[in-house]
């Protein structure tokens, strides 16, 4: 003390001021400012790889959704304007660029009808991604909502367990194939076939998670204090579920793209020119030497799209887990 007085050449009264005791402030519980979503993004962007993946995702979205409408690629009107071009079919990228001069659309060569593979692939990607996103949105919404009710209500649990035991035995590939066979193979048929039972797995998963978290001590305490079930669901349980849901969506979207490609490959896909349809149609070209491009480029693009979506989702899922926000 005396050292300070000497050092600054001040008296105690000058150095220190009396502050009154603030009764109100002492009632407040202070904690660092915490915003859930800000923390999610802070954790997400901490990893360099996520920025790269996000840029790739942006590229994919731009090419799949913006590019086809800019160039006016419409498979319904006249996609194959190069049909009558002599020597314009089954071109490798090198031949196509030599034939037509350099343009973005000849980057992957030309297909069996002479249409630029590049354009066809991005148009197909748009259809495939849309299918996956729509299916994931429907299944995850129904699955999460029903799963939450299923987890909370014991009476509903009994009914739903029976339903699950019965419907869970239906092999999904078989069911989707039969549905596609029964109805006409269109985009919405596929959505219908993939969602009519698709929510069941998600609902069961959520139900199990809800039951585990529901019986934790802090929730029991919360209920003893009179918190409503709805508030417990939204405030106590939902934050734990967010990362689980995001992780599930991350796995589901590439999964739907994968099954669309698979169904098309075995001849049960939709009639629209999706990625799977392109791969299906290029099957015969694959065995011909020099025509492999038609098959491998859609396969490669499909793989890149699914990996980008998967990695984004996984890392976003990790970041949305509050336990990583320390």
């Amino acid at each position: 003390m005396e050292d300070f007085n000497k050092k600054y050449n001040m008296t105690d009264a000058e150095l220190f001021a009396q502050i009154d005791k603030d009764e109100l402030a002492s009632e407040k519980i202070t904690a660092p400012r915490y915003s859930y979503w800000r923390s999610v993004f802070r954790v997400f962007f901490r990893k360099r790889i996520n920025i790269i993946v996000l840029v790739l995702l942006a590229v994919v979205v731009i090419f799949a959704y913006v590019y086809p409408s800019i160039i006016g690629f419409d498979p319904q009107v006249n996609p194959y304007i190069y049909v009558n071009e002599p020597g314009g079919q089954h071109l490798s990228p090198k031949d196509a660029i030599e034939h037509y001069g350099f343009a973005l659309k000849w980057l992957f060569g030309a297909g069996a009808t002479g249409a630029p593979t590049f354009d066809a692939i991005w148009n197909g990607s748009r259809i495939s991604i849309s299918l996956a996103v729509i299916c994931a949105a429907i299944n995850m919404t129904i699955g999460t909502l029903l799963g939450a009710v299923w987890g909370f209500s014991r009476r509903f649990d009994m009914i739903m367990n029976e339903v699950y035991n019965i419907l869970g035995n239906i092999p999904s590939t078989l069911f989707i194939s039969v549905m596609v066979m029964v109805f006409s193979p269109s985009f919405w048929t596929l959505v219908f076939a993939m969602t009519i039972l698709g929510w069941l797995g998600m609902a069961y998963y959520i139900r199990t998670r809800v039951i585990i978290i529901r019986d934790h001590e802090y929730n029991l305490a919360s209920r003893c204090l009179g918190t409503s079930i709805f508030k417990i669901a939204v405030k106590n349980i939902l934050p734990f579920m967010t990362s689980v849901i995001v992780l599930e969506i991350a796995a589901a979207i590439p999964g739907y793209i994968s099954s669309e490609v698979f169904l098309s490959y075995i001849g049960l896909g939709m009639s629209e020119a999706s990625l799977g349809r392109l791969i299906y149609e290029a099957q015969t070209a694959m065995v011909t030497p020099g025509w492999g491009w038609e098959f491998w480029t859609p396969v490669a693009v499909a793989s890149v799209i699914t990996v980008v979506l998967y990695v984004t989702g996984q890392n976003l899922g990790d970041a949305s887990d509050p336990r990583t926000h320390m």
Binding site: V182, P254, S258, L268, A302, L309
Partner: protein
């Protein structure tokens, strides 16, 4: 435990019935029946009335409805002795007019009876007038009169389940056939082998039947499983287009490939190089009289035999490939998953995580083709060819099937292990001074393996169904292709049969998985008391 399993089995049975019901509603109730003709070359050749009758005939064949033409009705009446052959012939020709105004008096009488009969039995009658062009009958325009009735789905379901198990007995041959004494005979000396051996008796016990569907009901031969029985046959529905007229179960289990011929002595003593398997003889009424070749070879109407072929059955190929890849999954996936958890954040963990991510994200079709490309570059055979068999043909399908399952095995094993590492008993063991390795292998692994053990019966059973995509890419003639062929060819009964097969496997594997889990984990008990 026994009571619990019984309850689960009953539940499973119920859910199988529901699944079959759903599939039947989808196929027979909701599907547009005209789709059957989309790929039928015969259909486009038919015009006018013959197209309509062709459609109803096909629908009957595919099991949609019961179709009774007027002519068949009359033949039936004649067979029952209600009318004589002359009346039948006179009543059969129909008039050309749709309303029946130019029918003969006799025809009018029987047409009226036909309508009456149809109404009594709930049939709907369709009468088509002749289609004329320039006063003459147009091509395919002959007049037609027939009745039809849709099969109801509950009835269809009942009949289907009633017909799954067929027990052979001496009353299988129609009662009006004179085939001598109907009985089962037991012999210590197999007549086929004896004949093969030039009449010298060969010891090989056999049970033969007369009046049964199969001639040989129990016999031994040199092929796996060496003892064969025909008392009980499983029938899952007869195929219409994929394997014409053959039962689904048989088309999954019968051998394929080229014929294996060997010198054979037929019951009549006729000798020939043939692939016929005489032990599989079944009864076909009147077949011997109708065919000179049969008269030369057989002494009775048990003439329908299966053939001996060189390659495994569809189920056999699928099961062989499936079982080896399942074994690979457990041998490789489990230890790698354990090591990834043990040395978390290490180099193996990082490489493994990338591999898991690759398999989970990339479409299955893409990586199977990538593996096939790699295998081809290494000089492995990349297409399956039954007639030109080499063992190395199995490598790529097995590897392609195993790699994705290995990834998921690694993922789950790693996750279970890491979850266990944070639990209290591990902390307790650590504080007690146990070494990390000891804790890991003695305690954590035992607990983490339990959910994996639960999946073992399922992975073994589902090895049989065959992998759709792998089999298609490598052209493996396995069971997986059967369903796809059936769907592409609208073979309804095969679809129902395969669904039943899948559903039974799925129910069984769930129950067996739980039982196995209860056996290895003393904490789990299925009896109410212990709970």
């Amino acid at each position: 435990m026994g009571k619990y399993i019984l309850k689960r089995l009953l539940h499973g049975l119920f859910s199988i019935v529901v699944v079959i019901f759903i599939v039947m509603v989808l196929i027979y109730g909701l599907m547009d029946r005209m789709k059957l003709f989309r790929t039928d070359p015969q259909f486009s050749k038919q015009i006018n009335n013959s197209r309509t009758t062709y459609m109803y005939q096909k629908w009957e064949e595919y099991g949609y409805l019961d179709y009774v033409p007027y002519a068949d009705y009359l033949i039936d009446l004649a067979r029952q002795g209600v009318i004589d052959e002359e009346t039948r012939a006179a009543a059969a020709p129909l008039g050309r007019a749709e309303d029946g105004s130019d029918d003969s008096e006799l025809t009018k009488e029987y047409v009226a009876k036909f309508y009456e009969y149809a109404e009594e039995n709930g049939y709907k009658v369709i009468r088509l007038g002749a289609v004329l062009s320039r006063g003459r009958l147009a091509s395919g325009g002959a007049q037609a009169l027939f009745a039809y009735k849709d099969h109801s789905i509950p009835l269809r379901l009942w009949n289907y389940f009633k017909g799954i198990f067929v027990i052979d007995n001496v009353h299988k041959v129609p009662a009006d056939q004179d085939i001598g004494a109907r009985k089962l005979t037991f012999s210590l000396y197999d007549p086929i082998k004896t004949a093969q051996n030039g009449g010298k008796k060969v010891f090989s016990p056999v049970i033969m039947g007369n009046g049964t569907l199969h001639k040989y009901l129990l016999y031994f031969d040199s092929r796996f499983p060496y003892i064969h029985q025909n008392f009980l046959t499983i029938s899952l529905g007869t195929s219409y287009s994929v394997t014409r007229g053959v039962d689904v179960f048989r088309s999954m289990t019968q051998r394929q490939g080229s014929y294996v011929k060997s010198p054979l002595t037929y019951p009549t003593g006729f000798q020939e190089d043939s692939a016929d398997d005489l032990h599989t003889a079944t009864y076909i009424q009147g077949s011997r009289d109708a065919n000179v070749m049969y008269q030369q070879r057989y002494e009775d109407d048990y003439t329908s035999v299966q053939t001996i072929r060189s390659s495994m059955s569809r189920l056999g190929y699928s099961f062989f490939i499936g079982i080896i890849s399942t074994i690979m999954v457990y041998i490789l996936g489990l230890p790698i998953g354990v090591l990834m958890a043990r040395y978390k954040e290490g180099i193996l963990d990082k490489v493994g995580t990338v591999y898991i991510m690759f398999i989970s994200a990339v479409p299955s079709l893409a990586y199977i083709f990538i593996f096939r490309g790699i295998g081809r570059a290494m000089g492995l055979p990349w297409l399956f060819d039954m007639d030109n068999f080499r063992k190395s043909m199995y490598i790529l399908p097995i590897v392609s099937l195993a790699l994705p399952s290995i990834a998921s095995m690694m993922k789950w094993m790693r996750r279970y292990m890491i979850d266990q590492m944070n639990s209290d008993y591990v902390k307790f063991a650590r504080s007690g001074g146990m070494s990390e390795t000891e804790i890991f292998f003695k305690h954590v692994m035992k607990v983490a393996a339990i959910p994996i053990i639960q999946g073992i019966p399922g992975s073994l059973l589902f090895a049989m169904t065959g992998a759709l995509i792998t089999e298609r890419v490598y052209l493996v003639p396995g069971a997986g292709g059967l369903l796809m062929d059936a769907i592409n060819m609208y073979d309804n009964s095969v679809i129902v049969g395969v669904t039943l097969f899948y559903a039974v496997l799925s129910v069984l594997s769930l129950i067996l998985g739980d039982v196995l889990m209860a056996m290895v984990d003393p904490r789990i008990s299925f009896t109410d008391k212990a709970r």
